[in-house]
Each structure stands twice: as C-alpha cells, then as structure tokens.
C-alpha cells in the first residue's frame, strides 16, 4: 500500500509517501516547507495558510519525485484534519480532496496527535508505551486502553512548546524558540527559584511563564536555565506519577520538544529508576511531518474504507482521547 500524507496543522506544510507491507512501513519521502514568522512574533494563521497554499504544489511534486512514484500509483491519501489552526488545516484538506476526487483515490482524515504517537511507535519499535507528547499544541501523558488513547495527565493551561516559544518571543527570538532557549540554558547553572506547579498528574505553566518574564533582567541565560529546569522537572514528575500508576514498562516521547536534550536526559534518568525502556522519536521525525499523517492513514485503511468526499472535515479542536482506534 502506498499512501500520501499531508500535514498542515500549524507552521509546517509537509507531504510524505509511505509504503506499508504487512505491519511494516517504509518512508519513501518526506518533504517540508516551514512558515517562519518575523522575529519576536508568533504564527499568524492567515499568513501561515497563505504560505502553505503557495508552497503546496512544489512540496507535493518534490515529494512524489523523491519517492519515485506517480500520483496514479498512490492507493490512498490522508490529511491532518485537526487539531490545529483552521485556515492551515483547510489548505491540507483542499489538496487531499482535490487529489482524491480527480484521481479517484480513497481519502482519510486523521488526527494529528495520533500521528505523532503512531509514527513514534513505528520508528522506535515501542509496543505498549506510556507516551509523552510535547509540542506547541500538546503537553499530554497518554496510554492505550480499551480502544482509545487515554489521558493520564496534561497541561491545565499552556503547552510546554508554547511556554518556550512565548518566553523566546518575549526575548525577541524567532519562533520556534526551543533550540535557542536550550542553547542559552546550557551556558548557565545559576538557578533562580520559579513556581513549580504539579497538580496530581497535571501541570500548569501559566504562573511559570509570568515569573520567568520577571527574572529575565537577571540575565537571559539564567532565566532560560531556570525555566528549563523547572518546567522539565514538572513534566518529569508528572511522567513518574503516571509510570508508577500505570506500571508501564515502555516509555516514548514524541513531538517537537522531544528534540530537547536536557528534557530527554531527565526522562531517561526517570526511566532508569523505574526499570522502563526509553524510546524517543528520531529528531528528524519528532516535529510535525507528513509521515505521521501518512502512517495513521495506512493503519486506518487496514480496518476502514475511505471517507466520502462530502464528509471530509477539518476540526480545530479535536482531542485525541475522542478518537476510537479500530486497528
């Protein structure tokens, strides 16, 4: 089976082709174009969607060329139907619908968050992990139970990615700001006390955000270091609670912030303490990409037929714990 996956939930427009044989998937190509807002600013949904619309033909043709397949070779097409920014989601959906109707290929709307998890599982070989999904849109701890991914803990307000981005933007960096903050943090070991808010298995970052802004005059490196240490320790504790509660023996971290080395170090140390196998998405596929969408499409196609064109929706708010998993 050959599936084209289209991702356009936020700043990334990406197309990927995956070939599935039996239970195994092979990524034939994964091409991305990323919208970059001006320094100190966040994603403007309209500008991002314009970027996606303008770049979609090029990304699509590059993707097919790299995979060495023709559109007519494709067995199916899947697109990210949510959660994400409405104007951006619609671009991906329009591309998918156009291909599906013109070439008569089955089309599958898929959940973006599910994509992060399933691709992470496929690439790392994790079987039944506790999952930490950390990105600009999500901060969630999940485990699979009774046909659905259940949320064992999550942020009560902003996400870890948002926290890093907003602090970064406040300092005048270009989004996404994670790498810059990580770099600055590595230059300091001076910890300034910041609010540490763990509520059961959940975390809350809004107070930490305000407090970090206040300590910025003490030096950016100190602020970034203290921010990372506090935020990641909070996540670490929530993960430990969930591991100890669920007793899972595998742990997988996915999403854009999974690329952060300090976070990964903390999580590894936790897994060691709990005798748990540690998996992390390869850096290249941790962030948003077409592969995650393509792979979920392929998994769904093993149990479901494609969606009728008139039912191909986009949904800005589409929680992963509402998606039933048939495979």
């Amino acid at each position: 089976m050959l599936c084209l996956g289209i991702e356009s939930t936020a700043h990334t427009f990406s197309c990927a082709v995956i070939e599935k044989k039996g239970k195994n998937g092979k990524i034939l190509s994964d091409i991305r174009k990323i919208y970059r807002p001006p320094e100190g600013e966040g994603i403007h949904p309209r500008e991002a969607s314009r970027h996606h619309a303008e770049n979609s033909p090029q990304v699509l043709s590059d993707c097919l060329e790299k995979a060495d397949v023709k559109i007519t070779d494709l067995d199916m097409v899947s697109y990210a139907a949510g959660p994400g920014l409405g104007p951006c989601l619609r671009i991906g959906a329009v591309v998918a619908r156009s291909l599906a109707s013109y070439y008569g290929i089955p089309v599958y709307p898929v959940n973006h968050a599910l994509g992060h998890i399933e691709l992470g599982k496929m690439l790392t070989g994790a079987k039944d992990p506790l999952v930490l999904l950390v990105s600009g849109g999500h901060t969630m701890i999940l485990a699979f139970l009774g046909k659905k991914w259940r949320v064992f803990g999550e942020t009560l307000d902003i996400t870890l990615g948002q926290l890093l981005d907003q602090i970064g933007r406040h300092a005048g960096f270009a989004s996404p700001c994670g790498p810059k903050i990580e770099e600055l943090a590595s230059k300091s070991s001076n910890y300034e006390p910041l609010p540490y808010v763990v509520k059961g298995n959940d975390v809350s970052f809004s107070g930490l955000f305000s407090a970090t802004k206040q300590i910025m005059p003490k030096g950016l490196e100190t602020a970034c270091f203290s921010l990372q240490e506090t935020a990641f320790s909070m996540i670490g504790e929530a993960v430990e609670r969930a591991l100890s509660f669920t007793g899972k023996k595998e742990f997988l971290v996915v999403g854009g912030v999974a690329a952060n080395k300090r976070l990964s170090e903390i999580l590894q140390s936790i897994c060691k303490r709990h005798n748990c196998k540690f998996f992390v998405s390869p850096k290249e596929y941790a962030g948003d990409c077409g592969s995650q969408i393509s792979w979920v499409g392929l998994l769904e196609s093993s149990k479901k037929t494609g969606t009728k064109l008139e039912n191909t929706f986009v949904r800005q708010s589409w929680r992963i714990d509402s998606v039933e998993i048939p495979y």
Binding site: L156, Y191, G200, E229, S233, G236, T246, I266, R273, R319
Partner: protein, 213 residues
C-alpha cells in the same frame, strides 16, 4: 537503629518517594523517603522535598480532627526527608473489583467532601491513595495537600479524580463518578456541589482542544 536497617524492605518505588516496610518501636511501620532526584536541580529538589515532607506530616495529623482515617505519623526526620507512618493492612482501592470500586467511590466522595468542607485540598486524589482496611477507608499521601477555601482548588481535586477514573477505570467511569458525587454531595450539600462541579467544567474548558467550547 541497626535492627531497623536490617528490617527495611522496599515495598514500592513511588513517583515521589520510596516506600519501605519496617518497624518503629516494635510496631509495623511504613517508611516514606523522598529521595534526592538526580535529574532535578538541587536547589529546586531540596525545596520540593522539604516542603512536601513537612506538609505531609502536618496535614496527615491535622485531618484526623475532621474524623478522617489516616495513618498515624510516628516520626519525621526533616533533614533526611523521612516519615515513619503506621502500617495499614488492606487493599488499594485501585485493585478492588469494579463493583467494589463503584461502591467505595461513595465513601471516597464523603472523605473528599469532609476535607473540602474543612478547607483542605488533597492534591493527589487517585484510587491508589485509598486503602480499604476492614471496611474502613483510609486516605494516604498528603504531600500535595494544602489549606485552601478556593472553589478552584476544590474543583481541581475533583477534576483529577475524574481524570483518573476516565483513564484507569474506563469501564466503570460513569457509575463510579456518580457514586463519588453522591457521597460528596451528602457532605457538601447539593448547592455547593453544583457550584464546584461547574468550576470543574470551567477547568476542563481551559484544557487544550476541549470539545466543550
């Protein structure tokens, strides 16, 4: 102390602390040690461990005056982040049969109601923090507890418990939740219960991609 060390037996590596079975002055006892977390910045780590050790010892004793069953605190060593607690024989509510969990949830609701009525939030309401011991329900783990009259804080307690039912006890979530609310309402009164429940909804709406919007 020598004998004590020999008798130490690790019962559980919890998220926050290691739990040992030991004895205290000849009595079977649970030793809870909040060990240093290597991954956590030391200043932050010490702050968290001190705060929680002290808070737990204080709260666990204080709530007894509301008529709630908690383990006795035998001894606390603040420098070592250690607490010696009474050993409670029984089973974790998490491990009971579904039928029993549903039934016990009403009692849990009553206990939580009593805490809230007296201005205390527990902060970590999960089914593994309750032990059913000879028909008596004992509540554990007050490391995240705090004195608060805020409706928001009480709602956070309820939301967490709901989340736990939703994730770990999927098959019985509706029945267990209703049972919990029945008990909770009996203590708090219906009006207050509804007020807190509507705040739970507000918190859920704040969540990412919540469909209630």
């Amino acid at each position: 102390m020598e004998i004590l060390v020999i008798l130490l037996k690790l019962v559980k590596k919890g998220a926050e602390a290691d739990i040992y079975l030991t004895s205290w002055n000849g009595r079977k006892s649970i030793l809870k040690i909040r060990k240093r977390k290597e991954y956590r910045n030391q200043i932050l780590d010490n702050r968290i461990r001190t705060l929680r050790t002290v808070r737990e010892a204080k709260m666990i004793s204080e709530v007894k005056s509301f008529g709630i069953s908690t383990p006795l605190v035998y001894f606390i060593d603040q420098k070592k982040f250690e607490i010696y607690l009474q050993f409670i024989e029984g089973r974790l509510v998490r491990d009971l049969s579904n039928k029993m969990i549903i039934k016990t949830c009403e009692k849990i609701g009553k206990i939580v109601g009593t805490l809230h009525k007296n201005g205390v939030m527990h902060g970590d309401l999960t089914t593994s923090n309750f032990i059913l011991s000879r028909n008596k329900l004992v509540i554990l783990d007050f490391g995240l507890a705090q004195r608060t009259e805020r409706i928001e804080d009480h709602a956070i307690d309820l939301r967490l418990f709901k989340e736990v039912l939703n994730s770990a006890h999927v098959e019985i979530v509706t029945k267990a939740w209703l049972s919990f609310l029945r008990g909770y309402g009996k203590i708090m009164g219906n009006q207050k219960k509804e007020q807190i429940l509507s705040q739970v909804l507000v918190i859920e709406k704040r969540g990412r991609y919540a469909s209630v919007v």
